[in-house]
């Protein structure tokens, strides 16, 4: 045995020559925190910072995608469902407080399209801020748990799981469109004014929302990182790579996947909830099939199995999208599709694996020339 073979590994981080291994992750985290909480708010205009807040919401979804898809092998092409549930739960609460602030009992759209002058029963609990906040995370997690329980037990996986997820995203957005009187239909819940007593028109409060989102992202990354290096993280990778073998070790891989799926749904729900104050709207168009694919492209391009790769990928792709879709609105969709195919087909580890791939290629070349074998 020689040591020329470089492991093609997501679970094993390649050693860095300059920074000691032990300090690499904390140092990177501190750098990220300084950039997000210190540098960006100073350098960016209010408008740009608000855009970044939106991208960071996508990055929060990507944290979950990285866990479920990157580590768990679950192609979660329907995260729009959970993003939407979180977003609507938050928006319903904010619409109710907006209405209460002007002395109304019904949100504006219900007064226009509604059939009566009473609030639907399922809206009522969302007036309570604690309930609404809890629901932004618990509702998506509950739906994911129910769905996952049946799907993973029946060993639905791969493309079938992806198609099922997509269908669910389509179904939810179609249902929302049909319920004009209680959900705002195609328009969604729009024109949100306040965020727990703070006016969202005020740029200072918009900055506060940005800080909340950035902090949530950083905390989630710490949590996800802990999960990645935990025994559960190892087991998840094992279940991804050889489900049958895991079963013969006495585990039920369905449960392992379920945990990853539910946590990813929770992250997407939280992202949806934070998206609402940042952007001021949640609508079916933001949670259907196309945005659901959008949620995973960033992770795929950046590197789905690498937490940092997925997060940076999500931010970069969202930034590219808003830059390019202004200039070439028609071309973006094609480019998006192309990116996805290229990343999944030719660079499954995403840009995060580029270093490893290149190093391996170089090593392979060196091995060939010296005639040495591993």
């Amino acid at each position: 045995m020689t040591t020329t073979t470089t492991p093609a590994s997501a679970a094993v981080t390649p050693p860095s020559p300059s920074v000691p291994e032990r300090l690499r992750v904390p140092a990177g985290f501190v750098l990220g925190a300084v950039l997000l909480l210190g540098v960006a708010p100073v350098l960016l205009s209010d408008f740009r910072l608000n855009l970044l807040a939106k991208y960071l919401c996508y990055a929060i979804v990507a944290v979950g995608v990285s866990l479920a898809w990157g580590r768990g092998g679950l192609m979660v092409l329907g995260q729009g469902v959970f993003f939407g549930l979180g977003g609507y739960a938050m928006a319903m609460h904010l619409k109710l407080t907006d209405a209460a602030a002007t002395g109304e009992t019904l949100p504006d759209f219900m007064q226009l399209y509604g059939t009566g002058d009473t609030l639907p029963w399922w809206w009522k609990p969302f007036a309570d801020p604690a309930f609404a906040l809890a629901m932004t995370v618990l509702l998506p997690m509950a739906v994911a748990a129910l769905l996952g329980f049946f799907v993973f037990r029946r060993r639905v996986k791969g493309a079938y799981f992806a198609i099922l997820s997509q269908a669910l995203a389509a179904a939810l957005s179609i249902w929302l469109i049909g319920q004009q009187a209680t959900t705002g239909g195609t328009n969604g819940l729009t024109d949100i004014q306040g965020f727990f007593g703070y006016s969202l028109d005020d740029p200072v409060n918009q900055r506060m929302v940005y800080f909340v989102i950035a902090a949530v992202l950083l905390l989630l990354m710490i949590g996800a990182r802990q999960l990645f290096v935990s025994r559960f993280g190892e087991l998840l990778v094992a279940a991804r790579d050889s489900e049958e073998r895991v079963r013969f070790l006495g585990y039920d891989p369905a449960n392992v996947k379920l945990v990853a799926y539910v946590l990813a749904a929770g992250a997407a729900g939280l992202a949806g909830a934070l998206f609402v104050p940042a952007v001021g709207i949640i609508s079916p168009a933001l949670i259907g099939i196309v945005p659901s694919i959008g949620f995973v492209i960033g992770a795929a391009v950046g590197g789905r199995a690498s937490l940092v790769g997925a997060v940076l990928g999500a931010i970069a792709v969202a930034w590219t999208q808003s830059t390019l879709s202004d200039a070439f609105p028609a071309a973006w969709t094609y480019l998006q599709g192309l990116l996805f195919v290229l990343a999944v087909g030719f660079l499954p580890g995403g840009l995060a694996s580029l270093g490893v791939v290149l190093r391996r290629r170089r090593t392979a070349g060196a091995t060939r020339t010296t005639g040495e074998t591993a």
């Binding site: 679970a11 190892e234 087991l235 990778v237 073998r245 013969f248 070790l249 039920d252």
Partner: protein, 260 residues
């Protein structure tokens, strides 16, 4: 001799009308090192699949006093029955240590699962030593040599603390030295566990088996010690035949065996 024995009665496995295992009876006592041999298609692997819950089967399979048939794979595994596959299936992206640690952990609670591994659990350290993989502890399993992967799989069964090991062609593709090492490993293991080995390699079987069952066309053809089985005329006919008596009869029998 601790542990339970495996008792198989009238086991039948049928795939779309084709009967792969056709009424097999087996008694494997605690501490045995039993070899299952037989031509391709004799039903050896299917038998192991049935015992471990991978395929549906009729009849009865008992381990100690517990029924196995009809239970899901992971429940059977937790009862102390482990297996390997013809192609070594280890978690290639994980290190040797991680592979073993996962195998040791089926009973862990959620709190332990969510934390990072702090030190090497005792059974894992022992299995590293038994299988001679200690120096490769931090290597990804994917870069191990073929024989080392097989040993890692056996090590995983050891930390799983299985009482019954079912090994599907563990020495296939191994060098002579690796075979000898594996045989010695199996003999060490089987002092306090029961080991069943599916094997094609006759030399390996002769050197290490304590008892042998010969399967042919889904049935048990012969059973006993190596010497008894080798002396059995039926076995010579279907399987070992050509080496002892170069007569026309075995030739046709071999043809039949290859068809099956």
């Amino acid at each position: 001799m601790s542990g339970e024995g495996l008792t198989v009665r009238d086991l039948r496995v049928t795939f779309d009308g084709f009967t792969a295992v056709d009424g097999v009876d087996l008694d494997i006592h605690p501490g045995d090192l039993r070899f299952l041999i037989g031509p391709n298609g004799a039903g050896k692997t299917t038998l192991v699949d049935a015992v471990t819950g991978l395929v549906k089967a009729a009849g009865s399979v008992r381990f100690g006093d517990q029924d196995l048939l009809g239970r899901p794979v992971h429940k059977i595994a937790r009862m102390g029955i482990g297996r390997t596959f013809q192609t070594a299936t280890v978690f290639e992206e994980l290190t040797v240590l991680q592979n073993l640690d996962i195998a040791a952990g089926a009973g862990r609670g959620p709190w332990t699962m969510l934390r990072r591994r702090k030190d090497i659990p005792e059974p894992v350290a022992k299995a590293l030593e038994t299988t001679g993989l200690t120096h490769l502890r931090d290597r990804p399993a994917g870069v191990l040599a073929h024989g080392q992967k097989q040993w890692l799989e056996i090590g995983m069964l050891l930390v799983q603390d299985v009482r019954l090991l079912l090994l599907d062609e563990p020495v296939a593709g191994m060098s002579h030295d690796e075979r000898e090492a594996t045989g010695a490993l199996l003999q060490r293991i089987s002092t306090d566990r029961t080991v069943v080995v599916i094997e094609h390699d006759m030399d390996f079987m002769r050197s290490f088996a304590r008892s042998v069952s010969v399967l042919h066309a889904g049935k048990v053809l012969s059973e006993g010690t190596v010497a008894e089985v080798q002396a059995d005329a039926k076995v010579q006919e279907v399987y070992l035949g050509r080496t002892t008596q170069p007569e026309p009869a075995p030739a046709t029998a071999v043809a039949v065996a290859e068809e099956a």
